[in-house]
Amino acid sequence: MQHFQFYSAKSLSDALRFLSEKGHQTRIIAGGTDLIPQLRQEDSRPEFVLNILEIEGLKGITERNHTLRIGSTTTHTQLMESDILQKLCPALGQAAASVGGPLIRNRGTIGGNIANASPAADLAPALLTLDAEAAIMSEKGTRVVALKDFFTGPGKTALNPDELLVEISIPLPQGKSVFLKLGRRQAMTLSIVNVAVCLEMEGRNCRKARIAMGSVAPTPIRCSRAEMLLMDKAIDPELISKCAGEAMAMSEPLDDQRAKAWYRLQAGVVLLRRALMQAAGLER
């Protein structure tokens, strides 16, 4: 572990002032489940580590003006145990429940999962299908970035060094959402591939479809072309298979320690098809 100075921000303005002065040499810590292993690597040498867990008001899930607002230091455990998420967007709760194990979920936060920008981040596909937006603050003010524009590469985001991710907002979800993950074991494992879908159905017809995947491209991706295939169509297994294939065509999986690209493509199609069948009510 490298030496660094640890600073615990007492308030949001305190944190933003710190970042405006020292943001370039600072890494932000909340749960630390991603950052601490990174600090053990030789190539990660921040001068400062800024703790944001003591800032009041960054934690919790609220509903206001037809929008769900999730504070950036809300933990995975809070997400999976939230009644309102269970009711409105179960996929997000399912995604949170699939992260690591109980110890990790008690520490890890939604903001960290997003800001760490792992291509395999489990919350990302679920949030992408919910049209989530990231509220970002700095001393200069607040800006809102759609999550699909937030991820810019593996470990890279739209955040500037002086900025802090403070909230994830989600327009009140409609339709049925499903999240599925395939890992190398049942817990404590990064995804080989993960998928989230959200379908708004009217009888057999699909009014709106949203599809996202993780761990198959440099960033988590929304699969818009595949979504178009389902829009205003009667959904059947054949169309779902076609759509899953189209979604995978947008992926650019790599070979890595967890799996080879060919396996990600094959397993990804299967997961997508199953998630779509479940969301359309064609399969349990």
Partner: protein, 335 residues
């Protein structure tokens, strides 16, 4: 599609080192003036429970409570050599040395008790030494220890146990390579997802010959731990190198099973005593993990009619074999 299969794995395993390799162990017992007992042995309990076993053997022989015995182990300054904790040998070999040391001590104490009680049909039990024919003639273990210290019999005994075997015939490789053999059979039931290649082990049933289970709960624990290791060996654990560099240096990369990956395990302890072990006991440490992978792979073969010959049978490896079989069945070229 999900397909289920059941498979059996059986093994026999030579306990200790065998093939004329030196296999010795020793233990020392000391009875103090206050009736407390100190056991010393170089054996290493790294969690498998061998300290418990030696303590139980001592308590059994001297008829005293388990918690009056102090264990001093794995200290090169004070403990006699017991050989390594390996080859499923500590209960089997060191346990026998312990038994012999405890019995030697018992003989010393008995000679003193015979003089005091005027009886020779003595039993050690309930912290007392008493006559079988005249149970009212008895002395507490504590008083006996004090009197024995004043009578000049040895109050420290060491036993040295050697199970080194003859080698097999160098020409024919025939012979009895090991002092004893352990046997175990396991059944695995699996469910395979034929589209992702993922294998879920639904349950494992085990039957292990422990010779004599000195501590049945401990035996069950060793078997469950062994099964967990076997599940990892069969399905997920793999060391990979790239250009000579280890790509799986941490337990974040090297996939051992989590509690969610280990199925319910049903354990049956079989007791066929072996004359060369303490009370007939054999080792169960390694026998617990050996049959698991074969049982799982046979269950996969039963489910898919596919024979896995390269471990681990992880999702990707299994899906590749499933696809190959589909191509073969359709007479398509390998791809």
């Amino acid at each position: 599609m999900k397909k289920r299969g059941i498979g059996v794995g059986s093994m026999f395993y030579g306990l200790g080192y065998g093939f004329s390799r030196q296999d010795i162990s020793s233990a020392t017992i000391e009875v103090c003036e206050d009736g407390s007992v100190i056991v010393r042995s170089g054996e290493v309990d790294f969690g498998q429970g061998s300290d418990t076993i030696l303590c139980q053997i001592t308590a059994e022989e001297l008829g005293i409570p388990y918690d009056t015995i102090q264990m001093v182990t794995a200290d090169t300054f004070t403990t006699p050599n017991a050989g390594p904790t390996s080859a499923s040998r500590v209960t089997y070999v060191t346990g026998m040395a312990m038994l012999q040391a405890a019995r030697a001590m018992k003989r010393n104490l008995q000679s003193v008790a015979e003089k005091i009680l005027g009886q020779s049909d003595l039993l050690f039990g309930n912290e007392k030494v008493y006559s079988m024919s005249h149970p009212e003639k008895c002395i507490s273990f504590k008083d006996l220890a004090k009197k024995a210290h004043l009578s000049g019999v040895p109050m420290v005994e060491t036993a040295w146990h050697d199970i080194t075997t003859k080698d097999v015939d160098p020409e024919t490789a025939q012979g009895d390579a090991y002092a004893a053999y352990a046997y175990a059979t396991q059944l695995a039931e699996v469910e395979v997802d034929t589209e992702t290649g993922n294998v879920e082990v639904l349950r494992i049933v085990t039957a292990t010959d422990a010779g004599k289970a000195i501590n049945p709960l401990n035996v069950e624990g060793q078997i469950e731990g062994g099964v967990a290791m076997g599940v990892g060996y069969a399905l997920t654990e793999e060391i990979t190198l790239e250009g000579g560099y280890l790509k799986t240096p941490s337990l974040g990369d090297y996939m051992i099973p989590t509690s969610l990956d280990v199925p319910p395990i049903e354990t049956h302890i079989v007791e066929v005593p072996v004359s060369t072990g303490p009370y007939g006991a054999k080792g169960v440490g390694e026998p617990a993990s050996i049959p698991t992978a074969p049982a799982i792979l046979n269950a996969i073969a039963n489910a898919l009619d596919i024979r896995v010959t390269d471990l681990p049978a992880n999702s990707a490896n299994l899906l590749r074999l499933i696809r190959e079989k589909e191509r073969e069945e359709k007479n398509l070229p390998p791809g």
